[in-house]
């Protein structure tokens, strides 16, 4: 600034430079000073500064100290957890209207202090638009008011821990906090360094707005270990995380076995395709690229995919538009050599480097860089380094462009550019990402959900769908809290079951030779791959039958068959899926008596009870058949003009480990949900009671369900669970089984990420049906829960003028 004041009018008249950007931080400074530049933890409606705690210095861009925050210790965690329980009680006892009122007054408080908040975000170098945050608050004010109308039969989870990584934005943080609060949970926020100060300010603004003390506590930290400690606290009911993949994985592993559901949104640094088709308005597309790819702090790493026929035009325009650009600051000086190495490597692989200015001497700066003509295998595409780099690759046809766009473990978002409506909608369908922007990019609105596909997350944030992350059906029991067992993650499920030996105790007498059952893999009935089988015992302990002892290879074969047919099943109209499910119900109706007898023989139920279960199963299948074609997506109303769609998509291949109780009903309930949504299913029947499921194969085969969409594999539960957990194609596992199994899945399924629905059912419990889920209930909330487990949401933006 010192030199700039001496610039004469004539100098500027000649150079036509913009002049310095003036930004004041006076308001935020004075807020910090009012706290003596040492912010405590925000617990129970007040700032508390426990003595003898480590502190963390928060610095601005130039490295100057702004203030300090407290690094919470164990005592602070338990203090905030008990405060949250008090807060939860007060907050959840309020009526919907009263909660909405608090939200409303928080919204106006936010607007009043928008200057302070904006400056604060600017100071900690994670700028965010306060108007977007205000819109977020307004949106969830509505849901706070409407909770009981739109989600009857659901209750809040309880105390929710919101953990974020350092690179998570304030918007993403509030996208977790606000819906959770709106439906009546109490929250403990464990912010990262970019969000600590704004989160503390928001905590105090919420308190001023009338939020009961303790309903929102903000506990600042040094590193992620505090988030793990909070999650392990027995007073917490669920954990949700937003941020980068590495820390999310760690959080998931460290909380395995604690009996706490963890949902992850791994959007930070996701790699997203930016696809320009030849039918695009190239200039607007290039504007979009310039706007989004070369920011100091970008949400995502874009990979530019350009159709060969317009490649030259895009390159020429990029060159021209970049010509006047200056170097951008890197997040850390240490990033410089990583960026340089990546550029060099791309160059060695034949990429053409486009930079508007030479490399600066300052280590903290780097010029905006386009790497033209890299291959999809180049490390800068697979794992883009931090900094203003944009890899650019070409494709020949629209189909190939989409294949390149999909060929990535990430599934956060994509931006596609074309003036051809049909191409746009077809592309939207085939991109496996949570958000598709047509002729636009990086626009958000809370009414459209943000969800990650594949490695980008296993939950849905925002929209009406996002509320259900923080609710559970009042009728379904929460996962009981537990302490982790010592599970050997390497050996879990690897002990082969003992095959029956001739003349062994399990051999039946010659009088009544037990039948040997076959399993269903890829539409064909077959023995297990290993050829061995295990004995199934009747309630009286005698050998009832032999069933295949399936293993790793059987799961593999089933998944291979499933991914072949699943796209076709998904593509079928909901109407024909519905018809197929009706035919399954009809086929079950025909074999009702056989199934009842199979149930009776296997589980020892009275024939009357078994018949009732078969009846219920038929009706449940009809429920799903009916639901299937009625539950479509919707068009959202937005503040911007244009169309925005929210579409339900199947997850892909779902693995289901079935419970021991309600053998048939649980099977058809889960199968129906998964199939109705368009998934393929690999099912593992109860180890103890597999026969009804194996008898069900006949029912399946005489229905219109396509071959291969459903596989049923029997055998050791742990063994098969282990096999499913280690198959990356499988997108979700629904598990009823041991605590050990739950712990194993939570530990294993964070990389590659799967969505998990875990239920702990202790073996050796009573044979009765009193415990756990009552499958006979068909309350709408229970069905909706299953449907939501089977579905992921895709948001599509089609802005128009």
């Amino acid at each position: 600034m010192a030199g700039s004041t001496t610039k004469s009018v004539h100098d500027i008249f000649e150079s036509m430079e913009y002049g310095p950007a003036s930004s004041s931080t006076a308001t935020a400074q004075s807020w910090l000073e009012s706290h003596s530049c040492a912010l405590g933890l925000f617990i129970n409606g007040a700032f508390v500064c426990p003595p003898d705690r480590q502190t963390c210095n928060v610095t601005d861009a130039s490295g100057q100290r702004l203030c300090s925050t407290v690094c919470a210790a164990d005592e602070d965690v338990s203090l905030s957890a008990s405060s949250s329980l008090t807060g939860l009680k007060a907050w959840s006892e309020l009526s919907c209207y009263q909660r909405a009122k608090v939200f409303q007054s928080f919204g106006s408080g936010l607007q009043r202090h928008s200057q302070c908040l904006a400056e604060l975000c600017e100071m900690v170098q994670s700028p965010s638009s306060v108007s977007a945050l205000v819109r977020l608050v307004q949106y969830y004010t509505g849901w706070a008011q409407l909770r009981d109308v739109h989600a009857p039969g659901w209750t809040p989870q309880g105390v929710v821990a919101v953990v974020v990584s350092d690179d998570c934005s304030l918007y993403s943080l509030l996208l977790k906090v606000l819906p959770a609060l709106a439906v009546g949970n109490a929250i403990i926020v464990i912010p990262g360094c970019g969000t600590a100060l704004p989160a503390l300010l928001i905590g105090s603004l919420f308190h001023e707005a009338g939020l009961p003390a303790g309903a929102l506590n903000v506990v600042t930290r040094k590193d992620l270990s505090l988030g793990i400690k909070v999650a392990q606290n027995p007073k917490i009911n669920c954990v949700t995380y937003s941020g980068n993949k590495k820390e999310g994985e760690m959080l998931s592993r460290e909380t395995a076995g604690w009996g706490i559901p963890v949902s992850l949104s791994l959007s930070a640094n996701a790699v997203c395709p930016f696809i320009i088709f030849e039918s695009a308005d190239i200039d607007s597309a290039v504007d979009g690229v310039i706007e989004t790819a070369f920011k100091k702090k970008k949400e995502w790493q874009w990979v530019l995919c350009v159709q060969e026929s317009v490649w030259e035009g895009v390159v020429a325009r990029l060159k021209l538009r970049m010509a006047g650009m200056k170097c951008l600051p890197l997040l850390a000086e240490s990033d410089r050599h990583i960026v340089e190495a990546a550029v060099q490597e791309a160059q060695q692989q034949g990429a053409n480097v486009m930079q508007p200015c030479p490399l600066p001497s300052s280590l903290s700066l780097y010029p905006p860089t386009v790497l033209c003509g890299v291959a999809p295998s180049c490390p800068c595409v697979v794992a883009p380094p931090p900094g203003p780099l944009l890899p650019m690759l070409s494709f020949r046809t629209a189909g190939e462009g989409l294949t390149i766009g999909n060929h990535s473990p990430h599934g956060q978002a994509a931006s596609i550019w074309t003036e051809d409506l049909t191409l746009a909608l077809e592309s939207t369908k085939s991109l496996s990402v949570g958000t598709v922007w047509v002729n636009s990019h990086s626009v958000f609105d809370p009414s459209l959900c943000l969800s990650g596909v594949k490695e980008s997350g296993n939950c849905t944030d925002g929209g009406r769908e996002g509320l259900f992350q923080f609710l559970r059906p009042s009728l379904s029991p929460p996962l009981p809290r537990s302490s982790p067992l010592s599970v050997d993650y390497v050996k879990f499920g690897s002990t082969a079951s003992r095959p029956p030996i001739p003349g062994g105790a399990e051999s039946a007498g010659p009088a009544r030779a037990p039948r040997s059952y076959l399993q269903l893999v890829g539409g064909r009935q077959c023995k297990s791959d290993s050829g061995s089988s295990v004995a199934v015992l009747a309630p009286d302990g005698s050998v009832l039958a032999y069933c295949p002892d399936g293993g790793r290879k059987d799961v593999r074969n089933a998944v291979e068959a499933a991914i072949k047919v699943q796209p076709g099943w998904k593509k079928k109209s909901p109407v024909s899926r519905s018809q197929a499910l009706y035919s399954l119900a009809a086929s079950l109706d025909l074999r009702k008596r056989d199934m009842a007898m199979s149930l009776q023989a296997q589980t020892g139920l009275s024939l009357e009870e078994a018949e009732r279960e078969a009846e219920l199963s038929i009706s449940r299948l009809c429920d799903w058949a009916a639901h299937c074609e009625k539950a479509g997506g919707g068009v959202q109303s937005l503040p911007q003009s244009g169309s925005a769609l929210s579409l339900p998509d199947p997850l892909g291949v779902v693995g289901v480990v079935l419970p021991d109780r309600w053998t048939l009903l649980s099977l058809v309930s889960l199968l129906g949900a998964a199939l109705a949504a368009g998934n393929a299913v690999v099912m593992v029947p109860s180890e103890k009671h597999p026969l009804p499921a194996l008898d069900f194969i006949q029912v399946l085969q005489s229905s219109d369900i396509p071959e291969g969409v459903v596989s049923i594999i029997t055998g050791g539960r742990d063994q098969l669970t282990q096999a499913m957990a280690n198959h990356s194609v499988m997108q979700a596992i629904w598990y009823w089984g041991s605590q050990e199994g739950c712990q194993y899945l939570q530990y294993t399924c964070c990389n590659p990420l799967k969505s998990l629905w875990l239920h702990c059912e202790e073996q050796g419990g009573s044979e009765g049906r009193g415990e756990g889920r009552d499958w006979a209930l068909s309350h709408p909330s229970l069905l909706e829960e299953m449907w939501r487990q089977a579905t992921q949401w895709k948001s599509v933006w089609i802005p128009t003028a």
């Binding site: 004469s8 008249f13 002049g19 020429a316 021209l320 006047g324 002729n439």
Partner: protein, 318 residues
């Protein structure tokens, strides 16, 4: 003026491939309007730059030699001498880029400027301005006569009938003939964007006008209901960029109509700087067609120098 645009063969395939996404253009325009504008001496310098790009215009039925004379003298001394002195700009040749009048007033303007010993070019509108609904023959004759009278820049209007019915070949030929009639005089082609219907048409008309050898493309006559808007300007400057990329020739841009405030002029300069770069911030490639804009800029400069807001009578009238 830089090297003139010689034009090129009409490339109809290029014209037919044009695609413009309406909402993306609007968004880009919002973005540019949302940029922080320069302050303090930066603002003063930018305002002065805007002054040098103004085509000071009077296009009214009641124009007479006396008000054209006043306009010419204002063009020579657009900002009060003492204000320029205190900014150190009095000896930097600050004048407007041109004066712009009807063909019948060209002789008056040339005379006034000559008498004041100024080399400011006189621009004349022509070709049946503003509607262009006269016979081609009379439109061509009008151009020739204005050039004979001493106009060194001719602002022609295109035949909207041809553009709207997609007769690009015919439009190209007409503009070619105008260019020939202009001779040495620079040709600015007015697209009358308010009457072209869609952004796609604006883009296509811009391309055809440039292929036919226009030195400038200009948004509007100032007589349509919709004049120079930022979104339409973005479409036109993109066409200029596109043409430059293919042919290597730089074509200028002139928004006209409805540009009244000093702040508008800063946004226009920002738009040019962002979209085309610093080269398009000089009168050789950028003009602002305006009449009342100058008064507002002068008041802003008065405020910059003195810290007070001027009454209109404190600044010389045009």
């Amino acid at each position: 003026m830089s090297a003139r645009n010689p034009g090129m063969e009409l490339d109809l395939e290029w014209v037919s491939k044009v695609r413009v996404n309406h909402q993306a253009v609007l968004k880009r325009a919002q973005q540019i309007q949302g940029r922080k504008l320069p302050k303090k001496q930066w603002q003063a310098a930018w305002h002065l730059r805007a002054v040098t790009c103004i085509d000071l215009t009077t296009l009214a039925g009641d124009d007479t030699p006396s008000n054209v004379h006043r306009l010419c003298l204002k063009a020579i001394q657009p900002v009060r001498q003492d204000l320029l002195e205190s900014m150190g700009m009095h000896d930097k040749g600050i004048t407007t880029a041109a004066v712009c009048v009807y063909p019948a007033r060209v002789a008056d303007a040339v005379k006034s400027l000559k008498a004041a010993n100024s080399s400011i070019p006189v621009a004349s509108v022509a070709t049946g301005f503003p509607a262009g609904q006269t016979a081609l023959k009379t439109r061509l004759e009008e151009v020739r006569m204005a050039v004979e009278d001493g106009a060194s820049e001719i602002d022609i209007v295109i035949n909207r009938t041809l553009a709207l019915t997609g007769q690009w070949e015919a439009l190209y030929q007409e503009i070619r003939q105008f260019r020939e009639a202009c001779g040495e005089a620079h040709m600015k082609t007015i697209l009358a964007v308010g009457e072209l219907g869609t952004f796609g048409n604006v883009y296509k008309a811009s391309l055809v006008a440039m292929m036919a050898g226009s030195d400038f493309i200009k948004t509007s006559t100032g007589k349509e209901t919709v004049n120079a808007t930022y979104p339409v300007a973005i479409v036109m400057v993109r066409a200029i960029r596109d043409y430059f990329l293919r042919s290597g020739h730089k074509v200028g841009f002139k928004p006209a109509g409805g540009i009244r405030t000093a702040k508008d002029s800063l946004v226009w300069l920002t738009l040019m700087k962002e979209e085309l770069g610093d080269e398009w911030l000089r009168p050789s490639l950028f003009r602002l067609g305006a009449s009342s804009l100058l008064a507002d800029i002068e008041r802003q400069l008065y405020h910059y120098v003195t810290g007070r807001y001027a009454a209109y009578h404190e600044l010389p009238m045009a």
